[in-house]
């Protein structure tokens, strides 16, 4: 485990929450899929006056969110998005969740259908430290943010930023903006390139339907 220290900052501190908040317009209708305890929804409600809804798998997360006054239901990105009508939201947010869904492609298609825009943050499995750890140790990388062993992790669909961009193209998403997060610093990159695929620890992408 001696190598874990060099890659410990991947996706740390949920910098992505602040970055996501910056991408959302005031007074928007927002669905946060996998909202946890409702931190992002509360941030958005407070700073952007959004009409926010959440879906969360864990009962503790749902109860905590509702007790905070947020509109959150217990549910699952894989099954519950299809209940919503077309264009129900201005933004559908999937923060650090896509890698834990059973069918990421279907989830993204549902997001495209129910939201005018989508915001996705994901850990970049193409980050050079992860590549290096796999290369040097020959074992599945374990990092501070992806901190579980391969047999314990809920992250069953990890991908690289490049993989994700390819899927977005395939599904007819336009990438309006993207932010590459490295440690505590974040950089707007427009459309993530090969270098971002190597350096980004977390990527945040703002997507819209291709016209």
């Amino acid at each position: 485990m001696s190598n874990s220290s060099i890659i410990e900052n991947v996706g740390a501190n949920r910098v992505d929450l602040t970055l996501i908040a910056e991408m959302i317009n005031h007074d928007a209708r927002v669905l946060d899929v996998g909202c946890g305890d409702g931190d992002l929804l509360e941030l958005l409600t407070r700073t952007k006056n959004v009409d926010g809804r959440g879906i969360e798998l864990s009962q503790e997360g749902v109860n905590a969110s509702v007790a905070r006054g947020l509109s959150v239901i217990q549910g699952d990105a894989d099954t519950d998005l299809r209940d919503y009508p077309d264009d129900a939201f201005d933004y559908v947010i999937l923060s650090q969740t896509i890698q834990a869904t059973r069918n990421p492609r279907e989830v993204l298609m549902q997001m495209k259908r129910i939201g005018r825009r989508a915001v996705v943050s994901l850990p970049n499995f193409g980050n050079w430290r992860i590549r290096l750890q796999l290369l040097l140790t020959g074992r599945m990388p374990v990092t501070r943010s992806l901190d579980q062993k391969w047999y314990d992790t809920p992250n069953i669909h990890l991908c690289t930023v490049r993989d994700f961009v390819t899927l977005c193209d395939e599904l007819g998403f336009h990438i309006d903006d993207a932010v590459s997060v490295i440690g505590d610093s974040a950089k707007r990159v427009g459309r993530p390139g090969m270098l971002d695929n190597l350096t980004a620890e977390t990527a945040v992408l703002l997507l819209s339907r291709k016209s």
Binding site: R53, N63, V66, A67, G69, S71, I73, D80, P85
Partner: protein, 400 residues
């Protein structure tokens, strides 16, 4: 024609929640609707005259924006937060939910709880006199629906000059009324909290109700429903109905925890049909005390109203259409061990609300207490409802 009388606050509370509720200043009243105000029923019949008995707690604010309507369950009544006049039980059936500083805070909200149509605690039902015959209605009382109950409640609110409800809340059949309110009067309901309920009564639940009704009708004292005239009371049948129903309100885990196979005041079984087991003794007690406070024909009529409830059917078979364009904020609550109104039925309501793009929260509370959990001490339910109600109050401008 309102007859108001102050009810003294409940005393000798047996727990802290009840003693909180004992500080509630309850106003008990009856509103009479004469021949000029008939109630049009879903069956096509018309009920007139009729009256509604209700209680209020707290103070109506100047712009009448702080009204909470509590809808009671099958055998509930208007005494949500005050001493029951027949049983003497202090604090009301929802003592832990309704009172100063409680989730339904009587220091902030004006709370109304109405005895439902067809019941027997002051609102017109089958035990009352039919003006056409001068005798108790019995089975000539018209069959009523959840929609009829809600329409009657709206008539009372109209009479009181209350247009908007800050919140409508209820568990079980109270949850059905809550859904009916939100569907029928979307502009009047700011927030709605249906608890442990369903948008339609299931085949299994209709079956349980039928068992209860047949138990009542099999009692010779039922007299074809005309028992009051005959000076009789089908208390045995009604007690059996209550015993069967009571089991459905609990859970296997709770029954095991409370009673197990423990024997009742004896060392070993008696090889007879006495109440050997504590659970038998408990159920017999539940049945016997119930008949002192409830009318058998009311039980028939109200269970029937629940059986007929199918909200989607009124909206082309699509539940989401019942909530089309709704602005109401919903919080749906279910309980893990509730097998009478299990979580999937509550989740169907949530799905429909999502399909209608409604503002909805949904929590499933982990408990082994079964369907009755909504009446009991469930701290997680209280904290989530407190959060939901507070947030709704802020949106409604009630937290200034």
């Amino acid at each position: 024609m309102s007859q108001h009388k102050e009810i003294p606050a409940a005393d000798s509370a047996d727990n802290s929640a009840a003693s909180e509720a004992a500080r509630v200043n309850a106003v008990s009243a009856v509103e009479y609707f004469g021949p000029d105000a008939p109630l049009a029923l879903d069956s096509g019949a018309s009920l007139s005259p009729f009256q509604i008995a209700y209680e209020t707690y707290g103070t109506l604010n100047a712009d009448k924006s702080n009204v909470v309507l509590i809808c009671h369950a099958l055998t509930g009544d208007q005494f949500a937060a005050s001493r029951h006049p027949l049983t003497g039980k202090p604090g009301g059936w929802w003592a832990r939910m309704v009172g100063p500083g409680l989730p339904i805070d009587t220091d902030r909200f004006f709370v109304i709880c109405q005895n439902v149509l067809g019941s027997c605690m002051g609102t017109t039902g089958p035990k009352d006199i039919d003006p056409a015959t001068g005798k108790p209605y019995g089975l000539s009382f018209p069959v009523i629906t959840i929609g009829d109950m809600v329409r009657a409640q709206a008539m009372l609110l109209d009479r009181l000059g209350i247009k908007d409800l800050f919140c409508v809340i209820g568990g079980s059949m109270g949850g059905m009324q809550t859904l009916q309110w939100a569907a029928a009067y979307p502009d009047r309901v700011f927030s709605a909290i249906p608890i442990a309920t369903a948008a339609r009564h299931s085949a299994q639940n209709i079956a349980f109700h039928e068992v209860g009704r047949q138990a009542i009708m099999a009692d010779p004292d039922w007299q074809g429903g005309a028992y009051i005239d005959q000076g009789a009371n089908p208390s045995k049948g009604l007690a059996v109905a209550r015993m069967a129903a009571h089991v459905t309100y609990l859970s296997e885990a709770a029954l095991h925890r409370k009673f197990g196979r423990n024997l009742q005041n004896r060392e070993k079984v008696t090889y007879g049909f006495d109440a050997d087991f504590q659970i038998e003794s408990y159920l017999r007690h539940q049945g016997m005390t119930f008949v002192d406070r409830f009318d058998a024909n009311s039980y028939l009529y109200i269970t029937r109203a629940m059986d007929y409830f199918d909200l989607a059917a009124d909206y082309g078979g699509i539940l989401a259409n019942a909530f089309k364009d709704t602005k109401t904020r919903f919080c749906v609550v279910s309980f893990t061990s509730d097998w009478l109104f299990p979580t999937p039925g509550n989740r169907q309501i949530v799905h429909a609300l999502n399909a209608a793009a409604a503002n909805v929260s949904f929590v499933e509370i982990e408990t082994d207490k079964g369907h009755d959990a909504f009446l009991l001490d469930e701290p997680e339910m209280f904290s989530t409802l407190r959060g939901f109600i507070d947030a709704a109050a802020t949106r409604r401008g009630l937290n200034a």
